[in-house]
Amino acid sequence: MRAAFTLLCWFFVMSGFTQSDKQLLSEPSLNLGYKLSSEYKLNVGLSSRQLFREKEGFDGNVSGYEYLHSDVSADLSRDVGLNNKIQVGYLLRQTEDGRIHRLRQRFTIVRNHNALRLSHRFGTEQTFSFNEDTEYRARYRIAPEIALAGLVVDPEEFYLKATNEFVVARQGNDSDIEIRVSPNVGYLFTSGLKLESGVTYRFDEFLDTNGRHRLFFGLSGYYNF
């Protein structure tokens, strides 16, 4: 929690003194999993993004609430070895201006080290929209998860999860790099249901401009049937 508070303070300090664009957003999400067989699993995701405040540059315009988009996704994953998953998925994004389609491929490795679970996620994505070039992205995320009671997270127990992700994007002649950091607190209600809450800081568009700082407030639910 201290890390989240520090991140929040740092974001507001940055908001006042830099030329960068700043945004404050929320993105709740829900992920539903259904085991198709001993190896295959289907996950359906729902999420929605809202913009609460935006400031352009040091003394630029300040705007208020705006609904941005909603996502629906479906991913098919297959177990590869112990706690490793390979997955392919499709995401549909509905914006005010139209629909965006995204194909994604991911490989996730999870290792257990006593009370720590450490995951490495590698991914590629192709995003198609009605009037723009196809965007290609490659990403890597490292995410440690620590049980706050005992060596494993049991039902009715809290845990901490942090993620750090790097995203490289190419669209037409433009390239971009995005860095994401996200501390979260999670609670496991039953073996199949968990909720996580936290903040995600994203920094991008710094290759050609002063950059864009975004802070997301998130609430994520995971349920397995």
């Binding site: 177990d79 999670g186 995971y222």
Partner: protein, 194 residues
């Protein structure tokens, strides 16, 4: 906009339904214990070992029994000492490398693994000692892990059979003969995958 509101509705339903699902519980659970919560009898026995690091205490609740475990580092490696709820010693387990196991015993163990699985990899080996505090203490400061007591062997391994890959915990006796096997179950990793 409407779609976003629908997602919010799903969240509210999820949160409300949580109270109905709290009754389902996993059979085996583990809790971290403060030292003050540990039975005095168990704490006194730990002092005998005069170990290098401070112990961490856990309570493990299973189907038939609840045990207290102390985990920590000793001069001979990482050890785990298990007690009953009343504080009576059950056994002690010492983490070791594979090459510590005598060849003839290892042949029995590996022969069993070759017959049982298509492919296997050792993740952890523990020597398991039973006896009273004094016997186990003597054992841990002994120059050899096989005298005066012969240990059992508890092995955690990743193995593949016809149903896929699993993590197993197996127990072998002092001769390397198989005694029992249990499958280690992991919770879903959805939150690390998405």
């Amino acid at each position: 906009m409407t779609f976003g509101k629908h997602i919010l509705s799903v969240f509210i339903i999820l949160l409300v339904s949580v109270s109905n699902t709290l009754g389902q519980q996993k059979v085996e659970r583990e809790y971290k214990l403060d030292e003050a919560e540990v039975p005095l009898k168990a704490r006194n026995q730990i002092d005998v070992f005069e170990l290098e690091s401070k112990f961490k205490w856990y309570k493990e609740r299973g189907i038939d029994e609840t045990t207290i475990e102390a985990k920590g580092c000793s001069a001979v490696g990482f050890i785990s000492i298990e007690f009953t709820e009343a504080g009576d010693l059950i056994d002690a387990e010492l983490d070791v490398k594979m090459d510590v196991i005598p060849d003839e015993i290892w042949q029995n163990i590996s022969g069993f693994l070759d017959e049982s699985y298509l492919k296997w990899t050792i993740r952890k080996i523990q020597l398991q000692y039973q006896g009273n505090t004094s016997q186990i203490h003597t054992q841990l400061i002994s120059t050899t892990p096989f005298q005066p007591n012969e240990p059992y062997y508890e092995i955690v391994l990743k193995a593949r059979n016809e149903d896929g890959v699993e993590l197993y915990e197996l127990l072998f006796d002092a001769e390397g003969q198989f005694l029992k096997q249990s499958t280690i179950i992991f919770g879903p990793i959805d939150n690390l995958q998405f």
